[in-house]
């Protein structure tokens, strides 16, 4: 089965880094076929940035980019507004609520996490992508908590890995507490 994931934000948010980690976890740990692409401007920071990950259990991935997303992740308002309509009707949206105000019409399928606030106050501003990745882990099929942690550890040096793993856990537990445990209670 094919899953189309689209992540948007600003240059410097770590949108592409998050997508690369996802691609590695799915490709290596979960033995899926995977295609990860990106689109960005010539600036090092700022400017719109988009990354896409297509995951397929068995089938060959023919088209490697995303038309309508199954899972849409928005780090900022600009990206949210630009691409929210390119999400499937039964798709899921995850937003960084520190920077995104959600359209009421999307309320049913939106998961919100104040990821910038969590990153800024508890970690470093540039850990926002890993906070979002933690949150995303709860929403994506076949993405294992432990294998994603392993991939994060492999992607950074020791200091950055420790901080990012804590940021990852913060994102993961936030969504678990706000959406899954509360619902059950």
């Amino acid at each position: 089965m094919r899953r189309d994931i689209r992540i948007v934000g600003a240059g410097g948010h770590g949108v592409i880094s998050a997508a690369i980690i996802l691609a590695k976890v799915y490709g290596i740990n979960e033995s899926c076929n995977v295609s990860q692409t990106q689109s960005y401007g010539p600036e090092a920071r700022g400017g719109a940035c988009k990354a896409e990950v297509v995951v397929s259990d068995h089938d060959e991935i023919d088209y490697m980019k995303v038309e309508k997303a199954d899972i849409f992740v928005a780090f900022n308002q600009l990206g949210y507004e630009q691409y929210k309509k390119q999400t499937k009707r039964d798709g899921v949206i995850l937003v960084n609520s520190s920077l995104v105000t959600v359209d009421p019409e999307d309320a049913q399928k939106v998961y919100e996490i104040p990821a910038s606030e969590i990153a800024d106050t508890r970690f470093k501003p540039f850990a926002v992508n890993i906070v979002m990745l933690g949150a995303l882990t709860k929403l994506l099929p076949k993405l294992q908590y432990q294998s994603t942690r392993d991939a994060i550890r492999g992607n950074f040096n020791q200091w950055a890995a420790d901080m990012n793993l804590a940021a990852y856990d913060a994102g993961y537990h936030y969504i678990q507490n706000e959406y899954f445990l509360k619902k059950m209670a």
Partner: protein, 385 residues
């Protein structure tokens, strides 16, 4: 002669297209790289700046400009090392003089062009297929070029190996015409345990070092093997003597440059196709656009539309006879390209009996499958039924 060699770090990997190209170059025996960094090909240079230096006898040169990088790889090949350079559109333009020199001196080198939008500085971070003609006709004079267009990270690996093999076999520069999408894309690929690599046994001490074999391909000679070699840009005879002032001999020499590719064109056909048996409409594509086309054709088939796909992997020399055969009964041919509609002209010239529709795309983005599907539906009268 193709020789099987073991690949040390084989297996499944998630790699970027540019990394896969660099890795393949090393596996294929590349031991010299010169380049001048340019987006979106820079990762090839970055990767090889480390990886080549870990190889026995490997060396890497960050050149002062594009043409010197191209000249350096030509020199390195005559010195006995398989060599490669990588660039993007603006740099590819600057290399053209030396690329022609590689053609004329019959030097087997690999030139990677990870295309971006042009003209001029254009769109550094966006994709295109605008250099499709420059790859064939970019340098002055008459010659034939071999050019491969990869569409996936796996093909970035496989076609790079193939590019080295074809360069060695035909003693000519070979162009790997990638684009930003495939260069920057990451995918899971399979690096094989063994690959076939073209290895020449150099000819020693012959009196005609620029002589040709029965397929019109020159011998593999290097410096430091005992030949009296004059390698230079003026046309030359079998002994390497200048013949630019002799019309008949010059004509024969340039004819040989062309014929060694044209007359062996049958060995240079690489086309994938699917659903052609009963197809009424076919999409013909190369490079990454072929993947949009594949999706569009598969969706069309699910809807019961008789659509087929032809994906051309070796784009130059143009596979004229093979295309005529494959598309003989196809009424409508759709040719999507990330340019103003260039390769389409070759296809129109070749498939005179078909209705050939160009689907150009400018701005640096790829065709979406749904837009190609709409064209397929329109052409087969399936739309709005």
């Amino acid at each position: 002669m193709l020789k099987k060699i073991d690949v040390m770090n084989h297996g499944e990997k998630v790699l970027q297209g540019n990394e896969a190209c660099a890795e393949a170059a090393i596996h294929a025996g590349c031991r010299f790289f010169a380049g001048y960094p340019i987006t979106p090909s820079t990762e090839i240079i970055e990767y090889l700046s480390e990886a080549l230096l870990l190889q026995e006898e490997g060396s890497f040169l960050q050149a002062e400009d594009e043409i010197s990088a191209m000249c350096a790889v030509i020199g390195a090949r005559w010195g006995g090392k398989k060599s490669m350079t990588a660039t993007s559109g603006p740099g590819f333009t600057l290399k053209q003089e030396a690329l022609g020199y590689a053609v004329e001196t019959e030097t087997p080198v690999v030139v990677v062009n990870v295309q971006r939008g042009g003209p001029a500085t254009g769109q550094p971070t966006f994709s295109s297929q605008q250099d499709i003609y420059q790859a064939k006709y970019g340098s002055h004079g008459d010659y034939e070029m071999i050019c491969l267009a990869p569409a996936s990270v796996q093909e970035m690996y496989d076609f790079t190996v193939k590019a080295f093999n074809l360069a060695e076999r035909f003693r000519t520069p070979v162009i790997l015409l990638a684009d930003e999408i495939v260069g920057h894309m990451r995918e899971k690929i399979q690096i094989p345990e063994q690959i076939a690599v073209e290895e020449h046994t150099p000819v020693k001490h012959c009196d005609k070092p620029f002589g040709r074999n029965e397929k019109n391909i020159p011998y593999a000679v290097h410096f430091f093997e005992g030949h009296n070699l004059l390698v230079e840009g003026q046309l030359h005879d079998e002994k390497g003597r200048r013949i630019g002032h002799l019309a008949d001999k010059s004509g024969v020499f340039v004819g040989n440059l062309i014929d060694k590719i044209r007359k062996n064109q049958g060995d240079l056909v690489d086309i994938d196709h699917e659903f052609l048996e009963d197809a009424e409409v076919a999409v013909i594509a190369y490079g990454t656009v072929a993947r949009s086309a594949k999706r569009a054709v598969r969706i069309a088939r699910e809807k019961g539309i008789k659509a087929g796909l032809i994906k051309i992997n070796i784009v130059w020399p143009f596979p004229e006879e093979q295309l005529k055969e494959l598309a003989a009964t196809i009424r409508t041919v759709i040719v999507p390209e990330m340019n103003m509609g260039k390769y389409c002209l070759e296809i129109q010239r070749c498939l005179k009996q078909s209705n050939v529709i160009s689907v150009p795309k400018l701005g640096g983005i790829i065709h979406q499958p749904t837009e190609l599907l709409h064209i397929i539906e329109n052409e087969t009268g399936e739309r709005g039924r």
